[in-house]
Amino acid sequence: MFLDAQWSEEPGVRLSLGPDPLELGLDPYREIIYAVGPQGIDFVARDAQRQFASHHVDDLGDVQVTAAGRSPRDGRVVLGLDDGRALTAIVAFSLSYDDTERVVSPEVEREELVRLFDDAAVAQIAYRHDGNKRSAVAALSADGRLVIHVAERTRSLMGAGRVQEARFDLTDQLQDPITALAIDDAVQHLVVGTASGQVQAWQIHGLHDRPERLPAFDVTPGAAGGVTALAFLLGDLSLAIGAENGAISVWFQTDANGSARAFRRVHELTSHDRAVTVIVPSERDKQFLSGDAGGTVALHHATSEQTFFDLQVGAGAIRRLAFAPKGDGFLVASEGQQGIAAYSLSNPHPEITIATLFGRVWYEGYEQPEYAWQSTGGTDEFEPKLSMIPLVFGTIKGTVFAMFFALPMAVLAALYTAEFASPKVRSVVKPTVELMASLPSVILGFLAGLWLAPMLEHYIIGTALLLLLMPVVVMLGAFGWRQLPRNVRGHLPANAELVALILLTLGSTVVALLCGPSVEMALFGKGLPRWLAEESSLRFDQRNCLVIGFAMGFAVIPLIFTICEDALSSVPASLRAASLGLGATRWQTAVRVVLPMALPGLFSAAMIGFGRAVGETMVVLMATGNTPILDWNIFTGMRTISANIAVELPEAPHQGTLYRILFFSGLLLFFVTFALNTVAESVRQRLREKYRRV
């Protein structure tokens, strides 16, 4: 997963397609390459076995192609002519099967011929079609004028529909000579780079309104040199900008804290040594290729801010680059080199680095760098957000709340069983707790999610009340017990104390839960969940940390209890006898002598309990909302690593990035529990030695 990108030049593919192609492209199987030259589009098979007809523009009169642009996603190309017109076309590759062999053949379908300038040749051109009705061609003339031509198609049920066109001249809004231009895929924005290092942007409003000018921004503040290459990355928001001084940065529009929506510099990538000449985005993810005037090609990934390689292709400047549609290769045309060089590329997981897994990442469209987990989205352009932090956080949060509940409960219960309970009680309690340990977690999860969660929502104050009421009632009970005449106490059976305790606990639970709703009404005037929603900014989920605390605590208590009880009851009896003999009470003996002695055992119990809680899957899967949020609020849910694996692994494609990330998170889980268990185990071994010595 953290392996570097692999690339290699493919032999025998220096294709002779004229010295200086205006644009390059290739089919999804990387079998056919096309290049736009002065006459039109030429095709060549990579294995040089097949010949294809070229698509020339000589039927349009005595014209030459002077500029070309490509829209990578839909195979559309635009050819700018020297008489000020532009031809748009679709280059498609059809697939047929000859017996079992795959045959790819190119097809060119002309779309429209539009007039951009009346008297000047086209020097640079960009073209996008939104796939629905609107398209736009932006062009720069040889004498420095900027024009955008917008077309909208009204679909009709019969025939081809109607095309309406409008042309806007934006030359008067220019401040400096233009060096690069680009339109986004949704045909919403036109951006141009200037020789002074600024980028100017317009919002395209359709046929009737002039494009609205957006604030310009300086790409290389303080430094000399202009913008030399521009490209929108997949997803249409991020703009990759290459400058004359070799700097490459990625910008997109966000609501900067408080201020208005504006382009902001988001990612800074490794600079080239020479001026950047061309930037080409990948059609699958946020990778892009850049070439410079010194003949170097580099592959970058915007979101993770990585640069995978610098490849010296030749001495001359890189003229054109093309990314293979499947991202598994690229083409390079450079000055002084004959033909086009084709490379294969393997970089299966470009978005993953240690930094993106564990650090804040500034994803496209976000206001600031964030930790986020969102592995699937609705569209093809969706960028998976795979940060481990929300999951790790969720795991810790769930575990901590579970331990809050389980640790005191289990330790106190073990202390009582080991030190104060009669042997008869102990012989009943221990197997019962072992039975509790064997309860399948799916049962706990089900009860927590479908029974406890609605109950707790209703009785939430009652539960809080219980925490207050219980100690008071129990202490009163102890007081009352002491007041019993000694001879009555002596005649009671050994387990009477426990029975009394159970009755007291049960009684206080019932009272607390019954009083809960009325106390809630008295305090808040309505249910706490509603109060929280209306009066405070806290969120309340029905499946929250309280539920998890109870349910996971339930799963962990028997584990901690058993180990604690073992550690406590194997403290040598001589110590206990000595302490009692010196006049200490039972409680003093237990707390001052036995507990310190067994402390490492308790520690190891806590470790093991923690390990179990960290890896617990079904309970959290069923009783949390599984929302990967970073929030310590006790009334919200979370998503843990283990639940995340259970939810997403069945759907993750074999060997894909998500699959690997999930295995990586599983490995994390494994290491954590392994470490915890090893520590606990060695502490226990030590403790055993200590007891032997005493």
């Binding site: 289990a410 039975l435 399948p440 049962i443 999610g449 002491r482 890896g615 079904m618």
Partner: protein, 534 residues
């Protein structure tokens, strides 16, 4: 008072209350599951309610609840059935809106294959265009008609499952054989391929004749229709073949209700699920669980016992064995989902994928073993429960008194003989405890299965009458996953809840029974050694 606090008694009691709390939690959990799970099948009375707005419903009262924001007012939750008419299974009715309530004796509950229950009164029974019976005699006629349709249903089932299933399997086998030959380079004219094509023709002909028979049986059985008078007065037909069970709860005594209860329990245990698992039985899940556990035991017992034998009897005790023991203990603490991941990566994609390439190239890219299945699930669980068996066996071996061993060797037997004839038999109950505990753990574990082969609805059991009878590559259903799936992924959670509780009860029962057996076996064991060592 100070003396009271200094004596420490209140703190002892506080500690005791923690224990009492734990015990109460266990008791509470079991009570909740038992109460909710057992009550589901009891046929409750059907209340006829005339609402103030004029509508009439028949419904079973599920719950009586206070109306929020209204003091003293209560409302009833009714299971009204007839989902195909009302669109809902449940309805809340404020008690203040109720005009009259009654329990009419002829109100009946029709359990159907589709659309849940229908509540109403039986009006008539007809066959095709003829009315067989009307009014009071309809009940008797319905019973005899149902015998006919049940008969037909079992014939249809037999035809579909056994005969057509077998033909289907043969067709598939022939198709695969043909592909295999083609992959090996045979042309279409090759004589064995020609032969296979002829076979296929024949099989298709057989299949067609079977499906003609099936259609005629279906048509015959669909002719019988019971006419139901809905509470609102409308008349609705129900094909008799779709009726699972029909009873009039208001007209039954406890014995009759008990009979319905038992028949429902039986259907639950032995029937197929219906209505996306929210009704019917859970037999496939029960079968899948048992089958998976048996397979797992087959894998884990020999490995675990042999490993423990080696560790305890043969290996030289030293740093290495200590490390291995710590590793085994550690293995027990590894989260089960990690085991599942390992199972997916290693067994399913690794081993399974390789098996597919080597032995089933003709069906690729559809995986045979390269996808989750009962074999991989049970192997994964075998790994998961291995530490339980190893630890228990080691303990059992260690607790065999040294005197026995020495006695056997002194009498001239070899080490192997001693182990086989003396040590293992004495340690057997201990080993058995370990195995039972492992079984219990395996039966309750769900997370690793979710990624190694459990599905919400498996079309076929892993065992059936079609060669090779045991299909280890098939996906299967599991009780624990059933709980998760029906309880949390079902479209109609409210209606599914009782079903989930009952499934939970069953799983709880299985797991607790296994654990109790283990505890009993262990206690016997202790007593036996206590006598022997004296």
């Amino acid at each position: 008072m100070r003396a009271f606090f200094r004596s420490g008694d209140p703190f002892i009691w506080l500690a005791g209350s923690a224990l009492a709390g734990c015990l109460l939690m266990i008791a509470g959990l079991v009570t909740v599951v038992v109460v909710n799970g057992l009550g589901f099948f009891w046929p409750s009375a059907l209340m006829r309610i005339q609402v103030l707005d004029g509508t009439v419903v028949y419904g079973e009262v599920i719950e009586r609840q206070q109306v929020p924001d209204k003091d003293g007012a209560h409302r009833l939750q009714l299971k009204i059935g007839n989902r195909d008419v009302y669109g809902l299974d449940f309805r809340w009715i404020d008690e203040s809106d109720i005009e009259t309530r009654s329990y009419p004796a002829d109100a009946a509950v029709f359990e159907r294959l589709e659309w849940g229950n229908a509540n109403g009164t039986l009006e008539a029974v007809s066959a095709g265009a003829d009315t067989l019976a009307r009014g009071a005699t309809a009940w008797a006629v319905l019973d005899s008609v149902r015998q006919i349709t049940d008969d037909l249903a079992s014939r249809i089932h037999d035809l579909e499952r056994n005969h057509m299933g077998a033909v289907n399997a043969e067709i598939e086998a022939v198709r695969m054989a043909r592909r295999r030959l083609q992959l090996q380079g045979s042309t279409v004219e090759h004589e064995s391929i020609v032969q296979l094509d002829a076979d296929q023709q024949q099989l298709w002909a057989r299949y067609d004749s079977l499906s003609v028979e099936l259609t005629s049986l279906r048509e015959h059985s669909e002719r019988f229709v019971a006419w139901l008078r809905l509470p609102g007065g409308d008349l609705r037909p129900i094909p008799v073949a779709h009726i699972v069970r029909v009873y009039r709860p208001n007209d039954m005594d406890v014995v009759a209700k008990g009979a319905v209860y038992l028949s429902k329990v039986w259907e639950f245990l032995s029937g197929e699920p219906r209505e996306s698992n929210t009704e019917g039985g859970i037999f496939p899940a029960l079968f899948g669980t048992v089958m998976m556990v048996i397979l797992m035991t087959l894998f884990v017992v020999p490995f675990g016992v042999l490993a423990a034998l080696y560790l305890r009897e043969y290996a030289r005790q030293g740093a290495l064995t200590r490390t291995i023991r710590i590793a085994v203990n550690n293995l027990a603490g590894v989260p089960s989902i990690v085991f599942g991941m390992f199972g997916l990566g290693f067994f399913v994609y690794g081993v399974g994928g390789t098996i597919d390439v080597l032995f089933y190239p003709e069906s690729l890219p559809t995986p045979t073993y390269g996808t989750g299945g009962i074999l991989w699930a049970s192997l994964t669980l075998a790994l998961l429960t291995l530490p339980v068996v190893i630890v228990a066996t080691e303990e059992a071996l260690a607790s065999v008194p040294g005197g026995l061993r020495e006695g056997s060797i002194a009498l001239g037997s070899t080490k192997l003989q001693t182990i086989l004839r003396v040590v293992l038999p004495s340690a057997l109950p201990g080993i058995l405890t370990g195995v039972i505990l492992a079984t219990a753990r395996g039966a309750g574990e769900v997370a690793p299965l979710m990624i190694t082969g459990v599905v919400k609805l498996a079309p076929d059991l892993p065992v059936d009458g079609i060669f090779p009878f045991l299909h280890l590559e098939r996906k299967f259903m599991h009780l624990g996953f059933h709980i998760y799936d029906v309880g949390f992924q079902s479209p109609n959670v409210e209606a599914a809840r009782p079903m989930v509780f009952t499934t939970t009860l069953l799983l709880l029962f299985v797991v607790l029974a296994l654990n109790l057996t283990a505890i009993v076996v262990r206690n016997r064991l202790r007593k036996r050694y206590a006598i022997k060592t004296i």
